[in-house]
Symmetry: C2
Amino acid sequence: MGREFDEQDPVKLYVPHRNPAGEVRSPLAPVGVFDSGIGGLTVVREIMRQMPQERLVYFGDTARLPYGSKSRSTIIRYSRQIVRFLHTKGVKAIVIACNTASSCALQTIARESSIPVIGVIYAGAVTAVKASRSGRIGIIGTQATVSSGIYPNVIRNISPEILVFQKACPLFVPLVEAGLLHDSVTDEIASRYLQELKGKYIDTLVLGCTHYPLIRSTIQRIMGDEVTLVNPAYETALELRQILEREKLLNPGTESAQDGDKYQFYVSDLAESFRDFASSILPAEAKNAQTIEIEEY
Amino acid sequence: MGREFDEQDPVKLYVPHRNPAGEVRSPLAPVGVFDSGIGGLTVVREIMRQMPQERLVYFGDTARLPYGSKSRSTIIRYSRQIVRFLHTKGVKAIVIACNTASSCALQTIARESSIPVIGVIYAGAVTAVKASRSGRIGIIGTQATVSSGIYPNVIRNISPEILVFQKACPLFVPLVEAGLLHDSVTDEIASRYLQELKGKYIDTLVLGCTHYPLIRSTIQRIMGDEVTLVNPAYETALELRQILEREKLLNPGTESAQDGDKYQFYVSDLAESFRDFASSILPAEAKNAQTIEIEEY
């Protein structure tokens, strides 16, 4: 981690970089975090836990979710709009807290950015490589994430001898959003999706979509206790901390920000249901969540 | 049908109207049809069957689907963009071939339009009222369609003594899109959703989402043969024909349009998979389907 952007080395495309000519933001500026909807809040929760002094601006694209079934070019276009919006809030760094957007848009966004940008893929890949003893790793994610081939690419760049097996699980997001977290239907669908991976004798499985940790117990039961499940949220927050330290952008925490000002939440639709969900999983309330028209950015 | 727009009478808001000051289009102009994605092609198929002489411009908002979980205001904003796009194609009338967009946006779009606009709700409601002997009608649809309350409102305006029972079925669209048309999981989810309606002793059930006819046999089996299933596509095409006749806009069919010119298909994402699906259900090929950036309208 901490390497500069280099067109020749694909793995470096997925690690944070800073444009040497770029503007330098204040350590007191907020970190921008975005996701296709609510899943990225698991990354926000981890950042709040590991870096309680940081200010955050979150954007969830609740009008246009899910991203997982869209094309790469559409995901890049939407991500660019969101980055332009986050820049209006003066963010000092951006975390793409969505596996699909990280898979399809991080490379483009990082290349165009004057501030550090990190995704969740690299953190997930590094953690999986560290965790695996057998060298056989499974990846589950949306159709777009799996089609992008980014997890296998990044893992092979870290450790070329590792075997990676992928499976798209398009019904997991709708099942989670329908609230069927502990349900026979989710069990049945998960059994079908995971059957193929079980036959590959993997010992590590990356939960390559921020919704999947919510059905972690079902996935663990089907895969068996001998398989380690990797949720990239923890390592992504750790990576953010390292980048901010390296760039001298860590908030010293001397400023006393009001809670309402410290954490700002924006969505493209349905702010009210977002507020309820966010407040249920975050240590801070998301009372100030508001809807913006993201197409205008 | 055929009544003019009247702010005082809610049912009239959902029937086609023509702005008296509006421009008059040529009968040779195409009819515009739009949907959140692919479901509206069932309405297109019916229009092609009933009015083979008509030229059509179809738009499917495949980048931003599904509409069923979005707010009313977002659905109206998206529908307005699509209407602006269809106007650039010189359409003489617009069919909103999506229950969710018809439920949330038809009233606004019709009020703002200088050409006839029809949705699928009125056709579905009229057909259900005609079909019901017991006066107990069920409606299934997306969360947005059910929350709008439009089917109960329109049905009560047609026939105040009829009892209407609604049920949102948010997993039907993802299950259909995952291809689980004849599957034990779809059976199980359908049984749960429809249980409540079975207890209401309805004799007629409106398939209030263009995806649902694709799992019609499952729904029929669970509801029982004594329940009539209503698919608004047929009656919507019939209603379009009546409006075009009344407005002297029916294409006389004397012009010989090339097939490629006669039917134009546009989507906001993934034109290729759209082409495959469209060609599989339409009598004409959708070879010319192309992607446009709908946010720019």
